[in-house]
Amino acid sequence: MAELSDIANQTIQDEIEEYLERPEEIARFVELFSRAKPAMQDIAAAIIEGDDDEVDELTAKALVDGIDAIEIMDDGLIGGMGIVGIKFRENFVFVPEVLSCARAMRAGMAHIEPILSASGIESQGTVIMGTVKGDLHDIGKNLCIMMLRGSGFEVIDLGVDVAEDTFIDAVEESGAKVLGMSALLTTTLPNMGKTIEAMIDADVRDDVLIMVGGAPVTQEFSDDMGADGYGPDALSCVAVAKELMTSAL
């Protein structure tokens, strides 16, 4: 069984020791990083520190050294963001730090994405994402989109302040099986329910599975609105999208 001391990178060791408490999460990350190549651990550490220049450099070098793009993405970039996500959930870091880490991840993904696109790897499916009408916040949505793309989904980003008709048109035109809506304001939350009702009226509700998220959203609210899934953060967004996509196909 892997142990913390098997992890070569000291920053990663310290992060796991200091910030992770749930045994299953500790086990998962110890297992991941103890088997990951040292270069991947270094990338993950740079992600956690929000050092976009370092991530950029290390990712480029890893590719030159012949490491597989997917391995870099999974072990380095997504592995590092996984720890960031837990620290955010537990209020050890807040949105500015998460944005900084996301920026670092984008720097790495800039090298990875072209390779993935060119390789013809099968997509996990298409997800439509948007912030509801009246709400112009997109930090959470953008983080989710990055994680979804990193996990192999194609994402149609409708942006912010998205009208009901825009969501409906996107469903009809794209044939996407999963749609994600976000809201940050309590005043705009009702627009999630209105959008779902509009989709029922337009006879497209049956064509798509809907997940919702955002700071004021709760599981109870999601159930009342008639959504199919709810995720409290960007990482769970990917898990929910995967679950919904599986049931849709």
Binding site: D201, I210, G226, S247
Partner: protein, 214 residues
């Protein structure tokens, strides 16, 4: 001064901007009186013509849902006196969507189901009971789909599913609601949560009630 909020009852639905009448907000209120449940359509706007607009909505609810005029001004009720909360909210919203230039048509008790490509019909069995059946190619294998649609109508209508027969449901009030069932049947395929639960249960191999087993 008369309190405009007195005796209104509980607001159960709201159209916040009526696209057919000057973007006014119009609400549906429910109140129980000696006869049963009574529903009032009310707007706080003060424009000329609002009375006619409300009258149209009330007429549309009567046509679409088989409702009747209530005793009080601007009210309707179900002949059975029942609440039928989910259904009456949907009736109100649908009535507000109808184009005011034309009178709405009484809903028919059949549905052209896109997914199964069958024609699904609801037949009244008396005393508030209904049964769904299908015609078209593949009708013989339609039990699961009919049960899913039945469950959706039950959810939309606050009706009761028949435990033994997967295509049957009934209203607790024991009275027929043909127009309401016809209207809700059209919406049934889109009740996603019901459809998904049914599909998931089917995928897990959950034993359906004896009458529903294929």
């Amino acid at each position: 001064m008369v309190d405009p909020f007195a005796d209104l009852g509980t607001r159960i639905e709201l159209v916040s901007t009526d696209k057919h009448f000057r973007d006014v907000s119009i609400a549906l209120y429910a109140r129980e009186d000696a006869v049963g449940w009574c529903f009032r359509v009310r707007s706080f706007a003060g424009y000329d013509g609002l009375g006619e607009r409300i009258a149209y909505i009330l007429d549309a609810m009567m046509t679409l849902g088989g409702m009747a005029r209530g005793n009080a001004e601007d009210t309707v009720r179900f002949p059975c006196g029942g609440e039928h909360l989910s259904a009456v909210r949907r009736l109100f919203l649908q009535a507000c969507k109808e184009k005011p230039e034309t009178a709405p048509e009484t809903p028919v008790l059949s549905l052209a189901d896109k997914k199964s490509e069958l024609t699904v019909t609801a037949t009244a069995k008396g005393q508030g009971a209904y049964e769904l059946s299908a015609t078209g190619a593949g009708a013989a294998q339609a039990e699961r789909r009919l049960t899913a649609l039945r469950n959706a109508v039950v959810k939309l209508a606050d009706a009761q599913a028949d435990e033994a027969v997967g295509q049957r449901f009934s209203f607790a009030c024991g009275q027929d609601h043909d127009a309401m069932v016809g209207m809700l049947l059209q919406a049934a395929p889109n009740v996603r949560s019901v459809m998904r639960e049914q599909e998931m249960n089917a995928a897990k191999g959950v034993l359906a009630a004896p009458g529903s087993q294929e």
